[in-house]
């Protein structure tokens, strides 16, 4: 095992220990659905290859918005953390598969209580088909399924079941469809533009909170569409490749469903600015930092929503012969 491998293992071990300690110290509780949308692209190559990715994401949810207007003095503060492990397997240039295992930590504080939860989220399996991938253009389509493996019975200090949005899992089968394309201009060979669109069809949890004496409630998160355009620039350094990235992301989410009815104060439109920078010392390894800032929202009713996101990602490819796409 090389020194870098050891360091990676050490870092992951520390993160895992942190997560375990969070779990032990948590007052019990919350978070719903890990944000896997921006994390789905799979590396492909001429030959079979495995790659492993770990992503940490911090979601600060402290922006109270009614329709288009920001509202001050909300008594709540919320944030979420996601820890995603992703294993990719590329069969050939065309076909690749991915498995994602998330862990989710969420915190909801008011002036009178502090609640947090940590637990395993819903597993996802994704299949990606690369329609073409060349030096200057690429087009992928992918489809996936999210299984209800996540924990949906996080309880508060009082042992009362926390609300669905505070759970690690959704309790439903969800379906994910995605397409992405990129184009590099021959006149600017280090600049790549890209676009992606994702549709997430969310299923219904028909027995959220059910017990032997309570039938539970029906709940579903709203279906959603995410679209993003952006550009990244490949800089060659002595020690590797540095790739800054800037984009524009539009998200639409339908109302959540409670008891088959549209839940008030859910769904809407979000426009945000994703930023990122990644560094790859070689073709096998890369590290990336991301941020996302809200630009505009038009929400249904009053919602507490994302103020900013920060992310950190490590990629490691185990067998690598020749790939075109080092950095996602």
């Amino acid at each position: 095992m090389s020194g870098i491998q050891k360091n990676i293992i050490k870092t992951l071990l520390l993160i895992a220990l942190f997560m375990l300690s969070e779990n032990m110290n948590a007052q019990t509780c919350c978070a719903a659905g890990a944000p896997i949308g921006s994390y789905l692209e799979i590396q492909t190559g001429d030959k079979r290859l495995f790659s492993f990715q770990f992503r940490y994401e911090y979601n600060n949810v402290n922006r109270l918005v009614e329709n288009e207007n920001r509202i001050e003095n909300d008594p709540r503060t919320r944030y979420g953390q996601s820890f995603l492990w992703k294993l990719d397997f590329s069969l050939n240039k065309k076909l690749a598969f991915s498995a994602i295992v998330p862990f989710v930590h969420q915190s909801r504080n008011t002036i009178s209580e502090q609640q947090s939860s940590f637990g395993i989220g819903d597993f996802s399996f994704i299949t990606q088909y690369t329609h073409f991938k060349g030096r200057f253009r690429s087009l992928n389509i992918s489809a996936g399924i999210k299984f209800p493996t996540g924990k949906t019975n996080h309880r508060a200090d009082s042992q009362i079941l926390l609300s669905p949005d505070m759970q690690s899992g959704t309790g439903s089968f969800d379906f994910i469809f995605r397409s992405s394309a990129s184009k590099t201009f021959s006149s600017l060979p280090f600049l790549t533009s890209y676009a992606s669109a994702l549709f997430r069809l969310n299923g219904m949890n028909n027995d959220f909170g059910s017990t032997s004496t309570f039938v539970g409630r029906q709940f579903a998160f709203g279906d959603e569409v995410n679209s993003q355009i952006g550009a990244r620039y490949l800089l060659t350094l002595k020690s590797g490749f540095l790739t800054p990235d800037i984009g524009l992301k539009i998200r639409w989410a339908n109302h959540n469903l409670e008891q088959q009815q549209a839940a008030p104060n859910s769904g809407g439109y979000w426009l945000s600015l994703p930023l990122g920078v990644s560094f790859a010392p070689n073709e096998k390894k890369s590290i990336a930092f991301t941020a996302e800032l809200p630009l505009y929202q038009k929400l249904s009713g009053l919602q507490i929503t994302t103020a900013f996101r920060l992310g950190f990602q490590i990629n490691y490819t185990f067998q690598k012969n020749k790939t075109d796409d080092i950095l996602n």
């Binding site: 071990l13 008594p75 709540r76 295992v101 008011t110 009362i160 039938v215 409630r217 009815q261 839940a263």
Partner: protein, 339 residues
């Protein structure tokens, strides 16, 4: 790689412990106590309400609902526009202290006495719901209460029944015509909300939209039909607003007590008083604050005072009652429906 696999397995199994413990210290089915989402005090109660005179209020429309309180000749009105966003207002009126509790999901407004066992407390919004109804908590003991059950269901005050004060729920146009000199809660609440908008979409009128499940579904009347429930010790009886399409006074008997239920759909109020020494009562129209008179010429005001007649200045005794959406009343009580 083996280390990673090991850590992943450890996390998978380490995090799936079942922390659901049996609960025996609740008066209501514990599993049916639901987390509404915002958390405790995530919906902020108003603890220092500000008031203006009726003539200074411009943010209300004639059909907007208000809840009125009366005591020692003073009256105050609390607009639904504000209560929809805050659910509880802790206030005082003359020598009484109360929490005006209002649940937008069940349409129930009830004034709770804030003095419990001689100690004054305030109530906050716990963020929990039982039968989709508000569960206030008292800040002195952190006990949880059920608004429609009118008792404490968890905590050191468990089993205690809350004292209530009479209120009147009606439209702004009716209120200002009846009580032009009253005080009205204004929008200086300590929070910044868009009070002109209703936060629950079509919930008030969509009969099939009941956001959280209830333990008993009573569909004898449309779910969101507003009705007065009179709370006898044994008998709970419901009087729908539809009974009062024409202004009307109904004489009825609840657990041996004769009551008069007076209502008007056009003016949007229903009140229930003990009949006492009144004779046959009939509704009167368009003479606010007078809403009824009896055959002896006693003129009865909306707040139950006898304005003139042989019983002048007598205050009728309010029969324990409150208005709510029918589905919610039926979820909590086995109700009779006045036909």
């Amino acid at each position: 790689m083996k280390n990673l696999l090991f850590l992943t397995i450890l996390l998978l199994f380490g995090c799936n412990k079942d922390d659901n413990q049996a609960q025996t210290d609740w008066l209501i089915p514990f599993d049916e106590v639901l987390d509404g989402g915002p958390g405790k005090d995530g919906i902020p109660s108003v603890d220092a309400p500000q008031f203006d005179n009726v003539s200074d209020i411009s943010f209300l429309n004639d059909n907007d609902l208000v809840i009125g309180m009366f005591h020692n000749g003073v009256s105050k009105a609390y607009p639904h526009q504000i209560l929809d966003w805050h659910e509880i207002v802790n206030d005082d009126l003359s020598d009484i202290s109360y929490a005006l509790t209002y649940c937008p999901l069940t349409g129930t407004g009830i004034a709770w006495d804030r003095v419990i066992d001689g100690s004054k407390t305030s109530f906050g919004v716990s963020g929990k719901l039982y039968n989709t109804n508000l569960m206030p908590y008292d800040r002195a003991t952190d006990s949880y209460w059920s608004q429609i059950r009118l008792d404490c269901v968890n905590g050191t005050q468990i089993n205690k029944v809350i004292n209530t004060y009479p209120i009147i729920e009606t439209t702004w146009s009716t209120w200002k015509a009846a009580y032009p000199n009253s005080e009205v809660m204004n929008l200086t609440t300590g929070s910044n909300r868009n009070y002109g908008s209703y936060p629950y979409g079509d919930y008030r009128t969509n009969h099939s939209n009941i956001i959280f499940p209830v333990s008993n579904t009573d569909d004898r009347l449309p779910a969101k039909e507003r009705a007065l429930i009179v709370m006898g010790d044994q008998t709970k009886k419901v009087y729908s607003i539809e009974l009062f399409a024409e202004d009307r006074a109904i004489e009825d008997t609840i657990d041996g007590t004769t009551i008069i239920v007076i209502g008007s759909k056009s003016k949007n109020f229903i009140v229930a008083y003990e009949k006492g020494n009144l004779t046959e009562v009939v509704a009167v129209t368009d003479q606010l604050p007078t809403i009824a008179t009896d055959t002896n010429g006693n003129r009865i005001n909306l707040d139950g005072t006898i304005e003139s007649g042989p019983l002048q200045d007598v205050q009728l005794t309010t029969f324990n009652s409150f208005i709510g959406y029918f589905f919610a009343l039926g979820a909590f009580y086995e109700v009779e429906i006045y036909e």
